[in-house]
């Protein structure tokens, strides 16, 4: 999708957005005059339509947990959220009128946020006696962009897990990929949604990876930025929940952490006011942002089958040997964490992914 598509939308209001989101996008690099211009502009707030399909409402809940800016600030000052079932005041047929009025009057102008997967069987998900997939097609046709929010909308997620009882599909399989930005996560971090909307309005379409996700959010492997990475490298693992003693936080891969196969900025931006994230509470990542979630990540508490651990008894015990292998590994462009895998003659998915990324680049 072209960047021009978004130019008409008011993108100025968003500069008022403060804190972490602005910093994450590197807005501080804008010139003073640009900032002043943006702040002075008082364009109309961009219209948004938020539809909930086969979901648990968790991505709506997550949005209400937004921190910087918070949900009320977004709604009062930055976006004109016309249709959002979980908080809108309108009732019954009135809500349908709002939806259709927005689609007609703001055609080509509004952003559609879709939460939840889309059942493809007749009657398995309806609003006002219409199947979700028909509602989606109508809303998407005239939207400027469609954000598939959360893993269910992006990839099918939980309801699509085997045996996919409702025969659900992700948004992009119903309406095509060209307008869709996937923001997976179970739930999606509110910062991902807001920073993506900011990107769309201010800079146009973000660069997406092969799974339709913005690279600025999903471009890095969790394992590479993990606060427990040092423990992984040194071979210090939690073997079972509850076995660790006071003090250092050990690596969680042996109790099933999927960080080595998962890509997001969770370790950097964390969750809920940056207070915590899954690894911080000692339970590990479950891979909830990946297209193959949840099937490929269950059993959640089992170690990734193809993840080799560094060394045999840890780097410290075999420092010389590892050092030797490290040199060779670096030479062929594989990260330190793949050393063990390289030494054992097999590359994990994680390393394979990096290789693929290099090829794509």
């Amino acid at each position: 999708m072209s960047r021009e598509l978004f130019r008409e939308v008011s993108r100025r209001d968003f500069l008022k957005i403060c804190g972490g989101v602005a910093a994450a996008l590197g807005l501080s690099e804008m010139s003073a005059s640009e900032v002043a211009e943006v702040l002075a502009a008082s364009a109309k707030k961009p219209p948004v339509v938020w539809l909930e399909f086969g979901s648990c409402s968790g991505c709506s809940t997550s949005f209400l947990n937004a921190d910087s800016p918070n949900a009320v600030d977004v709604i009062l000052n930055h976006l004109s959220v016309r249709y959002i079932e979980v908080i809108m005041a309108a009732q019954g047929a009135q809500t349908e009128e709002v939806l259709h009025e927005t689609i007609e009057k703001e055609a080509g102008n509004y952003i559609a946020v879709i939460e939840g997967a889309v059942p493809t069987l007749d009657g398995y998900g309806m609003i006002a006696d219409r199947n979700f997939y028909d509602v989606l097609k109508e809303v998407a046709a005239k939207a400027k962009a469609v954000i598939a929010l959360g893993s269910c909308a992006a990839y099918g997620g939980i309801p699509a897990a085997k045996p996919n009882p409702g025969q659900v599909k992700p948004v992009s399989e119903i309406i095509g990929k060209e307008k869709v930005i996937n923001i997976p996560g179970c739930a999606a971090n509110p910062s991902w949604l807001i920073s993506t909307v900011v990107h769309v309005l201010m800079f146009g379409m973000p660069e997406l990876d092969s799974f339709g996700r913005p690279k600025f959010i999903y471009g890095q492997c969790i394992h590479d930025n993990c606060e427990r990475r040092a423990s992984f490298d040194e071979g210090m693992y939690v073997e079972k929940y509850g076995d660790t003693e006071v003090g250092r936080d050990y690596c969680l891969v042996k109790v099933g952490c999927k960080g080595p196969n998962t890509h997001s900025n969770c370790p950097q931006i964390r969750w809920n006011g940056s207070k915590s994230w899954c690894v911080a509470v000692g339970a590990g990542c479950i891979g909830c942002v990946e297209p193959s979630f949840p099937d490929a990540f269950m059993p959640f508490h089992d170690r990734l089958p193809d993840l080799a651990l560094p060394g045999w008894a840890g780097i410290r015990a075999d420092a010389d040997l590892i050092g030797t292998v490290l040199g060779a590994a670096t030479a062929i462009g594989i990260g330190v964490h793949a050393v063990g895998a390289a030494a054992k003659g097999k590359l994990g998915k994680r390393a394979a992914h990096e290789e693929q990324a290099k090829t794509e680049a």
């Binding site: 968790g58 009062l76 979980v86 019954g92 398995y124 309801p159 009882p165 509850g242 915590s276």
Partner: protein, 513 residues
């Protein structure tokens, strides 16, 4: 002559719900509640490792995932004979306690308040509060989505109460964020947590954690004491007729929550029990073998009413009835009944089973029945009760720096976990062989409250509560949506299918839990 009135969607709830009523002379003579989404989580769990149920089942509900995780964990712990450490019991009380506070605050301010409070009164605001001034300029600019359009024919509050309540609506979002932060400290993030596992909890209990939790608990207690409860009491007198509108079946069910060190569900902060036929001072013991589920009016293959564990559930969508009076199937929800009766679950049920003196006193003072207002008041008073107790629970923690999780070996067995979600009783039933799930069943709160008719034609609680209601303006039946929202519906949770195979599960649980 009678006519059919439809509200679809019923929004400001979780999930997808449609209601229809038959009206004669502006009075509801018949009512139908229709769950309009099917997902099917239990089918997904079959064959998985039991522990995966803790993470998958909470994804039935993004609003109250915590009690799903605790009920799922309890089921596994019973099946495998695991005794969780005291710190884990306490942390679970704390994390679910915060879940209740967040959910109740969200319900009152963000789901329900817009039916009673007029935020456009802020146009007359003359003070300096920056957020109210933001809202004022929004109103003046004419772009008031999503607070308009609305049904605005029955706002009764004076301007000052409207403005104060609107200010608290905005503050309540921040309180909801605080709840998310507190839960994230114990669960990793919110919604959907990883910190609750079979055997206990995963965060280390450190003095830092204890200190942070105290901070959150105090901040929330302060908001509830000085804003939430006073706001409910300030609004109630203007809508006092709702003290007798929306009266349900008069049968109440609570599984109980927040067990103490004795781990007796009849002795926790919110005890287990049953009230039948409106005899609200007569609390009886609960016997799970008296639960059956009906599918006569649900989109499933017909079969006899069964104990939920029977698991004969074959989806069969037969179309949206052109007229609900025809007696066709009309909902994705099944119809659970206890002792053949439709049961109300939720804060009002729990506070009545508790015989909570504050609620009983307030109801007597306001002369209100088990109604819309009683549900809203019970929820606020329950939030206050829990907020007070979270501080006590935190001080019970032993900050030894260890992960409070018992070691165990997965195996085979059957177990159930009964707990309370903010919107009512939640039960999980599990059967596992060799560590893998052979059957999993959930009965969740809105499954009780929003149930359709059963095979005898007995309507569900929402339906009973709507019948008899006078509607002032048939084009804007706000009386009905006020009734429905007072229950805090979560249709997202309610619509899941149980197992396709004809296995009996809960019927094997002979223990009178």
């Amino acid at each position: 002559m009678s006519q059919i009135i439809t509200v679809d969607p019923v929004n400001r709830i979780e999930g997808h719900l449609k209601i229809q009523v038959e009206v004669e002379n502006n009075k509801v003579v018949n009512a139908w509640t229709m769950g309009t989404l099917y997902r099917g989580l239990e089918q997904i769990l079959r064959g998985r490792k039991a522990e995966d149920a803790v993470l998958i089942s909470q994804r039935a509900c993004g609003v109250c995932p915590i009690p799903y995780a605790t009920a799922g964990s309890k089921a596994i712990e019973m099946a495998y004979g695991i005794d969780i450490p005291e710190n884990a019991r306490i942390l679970r009380n704390i994390i679910n306690g915060f879940q209740f506070l967040g959910s109740h605050i969200l319900h009152f301010y963000h789901l329900v308040a817009l039916d009673y409070v007029d935020p456009t009164a802020v146009a007359q605001y003359t003070g300096n509060d920056p957020e109210l001034l933001d809202l004022k300029s929004l109103i003046q600019s004419g772009d008031t989505a999503p607070f308009t359009p609305r049904w605005d024919h029955d706002f009764r509050l004076p301007t000052d109460i409207n403005i104060v309540a609107t200010k608290h609506y905005i503050e309540a979002v921040r309180m909801y964020q605080r709840v998310g932060e507190a839960i994230a400290l114990l669960g990793g993030k919110f919604p959907h947590v990883v910190g609750i596992v079979a055997g206990g909890m995963t965060p280390k209990v450190t003095p830092t954690l204890v200190t942070e939790l105290i901070g959150y608990a105090k901040e929330l207690k302060d908001f509830i004491d000085t804003k939430y409860v006073p706001d409910v009491l300030a609004v109630a007198p203007y809508y006092i007729d709702y003290g007798n509108i929306g009266v349900g079946p008069g049968n109440f069910l609570a599984y109980g929550a927040f067990e103490g060190a004795d781990r007796d569900p009849y002795n926790g902060l919110l005890p287990r029990g049953v009230i039948m036929d409106g005899d609200i001072n007569n609390v009886q013991e609960f016997d799970q073998s008296r639960i059956v589920e009906h599918v006569a009016y649900s989109y499933y293959q017909d079969g006899n009413p069964r104990h939920p564990g029977d698991g004969v559930t074959e989806p069969k969508f037969t179309g949206v009835p052109s007229d609900p009076r025809r007696g066709e199937k009309y909902s994705w929800l099944k119809a659970p009944r206890y002792n053949t009766k439709a049961m109300e679950v939720g804060p009002l049920a729990r506070m009545l089973v508790r015989q909570d003196p504050n609620l009983l006193d307030l109801a007597a003072k306001l002369k209100i029945g088990p109604s819309v207002l009683a549900r809203i008041a019970a929820r606020a008073l329950e939030a206050q009760l829990i907020a007070n107790n979270i501080l006590n629970w935190i001080t019970e923690l032993k900050p030894d720096g260890k992960v409070p999780c018992a070691q165990y070996k997965p195996g085979s067995g059957r177990g159930y976990g009964l707990d309370e979600a903010p919107r009512g009783a939640i039960g999980h039933w599990l059967e596992a062989e060799g560590g893998r799930i052979t059957n999993y069943q959930m009965i969740i709160p809105t499954g009780w409250n929003a149930s359709p008719r059963d095979i005898t034609g007995q309507p569900g609680p929402y339906e009973i509560a709507m019948i008899g209601t006078e509607i002032k303006d048939l084009s804007r039946p706000i009386e009905l949506t006020r009734i429905i929202r007072s229950y805090d519906p979560c249709i997202a949770c309610a619509v899941h299918v149980v197992d396709l195979e004809k296995e009996r599960i809960a019927a094997k649980f002979t223990i009178g839990c």
